[in-house]
Amino acid sequence: MFRNQYDTDVTTWSPAGRLFQVEYAMEAVKQGSAAIGLRSKTHVVLACVNKANSELSSHQRKIFKVDDHIGVAIAGLTADGRVLSRYMRSECINYGYTYESPLPVGRLVVQLADKAQVCTQRSWKRPYGVGLLVAGLDESGAHLYYNCPSGNYFEYQAFAIGSRSQAAKTYLERKFENFTGSSRDELIKDALFAIRETLQGEKLTSTVCTVAVVGVGEAFNILDQATVQALINEFEISGEEGPTNEGVAEEAVGEAGGAAATQEGGAAPEQETAPMDI
């Protein structure tokens, strides 16, 4: 009866100046399990939550190495994410072949964004249903970018995407001012804390998360499970009751619940905001 008349293809504008198909694609990013990223002057850390599709299946990979100096974490349609990572890999390889030097991260991100933008302007295409956190190191230092299905991209100090990412964002917003000077290990620690925020009380173990690092003197690499578990134990962040400075974390968990609830409650407040912002 009152079906939306303006969302049947990507190239149709609504009278309010919105492209519903593009917004739906960005909704897909929010449905995927969370991925976070944060950076210092010298390092970038990516982390994500591994969620299996069913009791009987294993989880899907959400962090991909693109090149020695670039990696991505994805949230949304994993299949789209894999296609885009393959594109990024081949761009890096081609650049390396032509110039014998690593592709600047910012340029790869622009190429990726332009690729996504094309899908928002062709009637026979659909937007990618995936958000990518791109971590990389180049001549101008460490970078963290977020690419979204609308073809927009943003550079961040720290960011979180995916389901219940608001909780992690709250954590990161509280602490990001210290990240610039952080060591590699401190970044990983904050990454694990931020990931725990998205778990909503579920126990943080190395089986439910993946962590990856890139930095000065360290090629992009995904930490193995034993290493991650050792770090979780070392920082004592596994449990729901935070041990050390956990007044903060507890609070955040509470907030996370609140945020998730509002999200569940309906997209009503979101509808008001400018749709293209992330």
Binding site: Y99, G106, R107, V110
Partner: protein, 242 residues
């Protein structure tokens, strides 16, 4: 371009395409050295049409982007085509306007790819190139041949320079050469080439590139002395020659 629509197959497929089978106007040696603050390069300004020295003011040292200097010997028009490729490359690099820029290493590798690609089409760019530059305090000096052979070294030369200049450089080159010493050394090499390479002319340019930028000298001549005994009577002691 090669057309594949030949009637009688393999033998005549070559018929309707033309490639550079030999060079027309050529420049002779280029020499490049590293010195204390950057790179120095020297080349004369002769352009030979076969064995006739047809042109006397050919500039064979050119700037590429912010950090690189290119010197070429071989086919002059092919060199001009290479410069067009590089202008386009640098233009597109600048259009990103993101603070990144191609350094000498990147340009050197790019040239290698172009040269090797063209030789694979059996249509080589008939040049030997020397590429030098400084970026982020790193000095870089390398060379590419017409078939894509490439290497880096502290001093490089093309053509006759490989035989006449590099032995001198191997004896006398040092990493901490001052600008004046470097120019003196290059002039010594160029004078030797002038005496012994029939395509060389006594009008040359020297270029300098450092962290602060690039300068190419005005053309000038070297002092020569032709009254050596061996020059005046080259056949003395050469039994059996005319």
């Amino acid at each position: 371009m090669v057309s594949s629509q030949s009637e009688s197959g393999l033998l005549s497929s070559e018929g309707d395409s033309q490639r550079t089978q030999y060079p027309y106007v050529t420049g002779t040696s280029v020499i490049g050295i590293k010195y204390k603050d950057g790179i120095l390069m020297a080349a004369d300004m002769g352009g030979s049409y076969g064995s006739t020295i047809r042109y006397k003011s050919v500039e064979r040292l050119k700037q590429v982007g912010k950090h690189s200097l290119l010197g070429a010997s071989g086919e002059i028009s092919d060199f001009q085509e290479i410069l067009r490729y590089l202008d386009e490359l640098i233009l597109h690099d600048n259009m990103w306007d993101d603070g990144n820029s191609l350094g000498p290493k990147e340009v050197h590798n790019y040239l290698t790819r172009i040269m090797y690609n063209r030789r694979n089409k059996f249509d080589p760019l008939w040049n030997s190139l020397v590429l030098g530059g400084v970026k982020n305090g790193q000095k870089y000096l390398g060379s590419v041949s017409m078939i894509g052979v490439h290497f880096e070294d502290s001093h490089v030369a093309t053509g006759f320079g490989n035989h006449l200049a590099r032995p001198i450089l191997r004896e006398e080159w040092r990493e901490d050469l001052s600008f004046e010493e470097g120019v003196k050394l290059l002039e010594k090499c160029m004078r030797n080439l002038l005496y012994r390479d029939r395509s060389a002319v006594n009008k040359l340019q020297i270029a300098k590139i450092t962290e602060d930028g690039l300068t190419i000298s005005q053309p000038y001549s070297l002092k020569t002395f032709w009254n050596f005994g061996a020059f005046q009577n080259p056949t003395v002691g050469a039994e059996g020659s005319w």
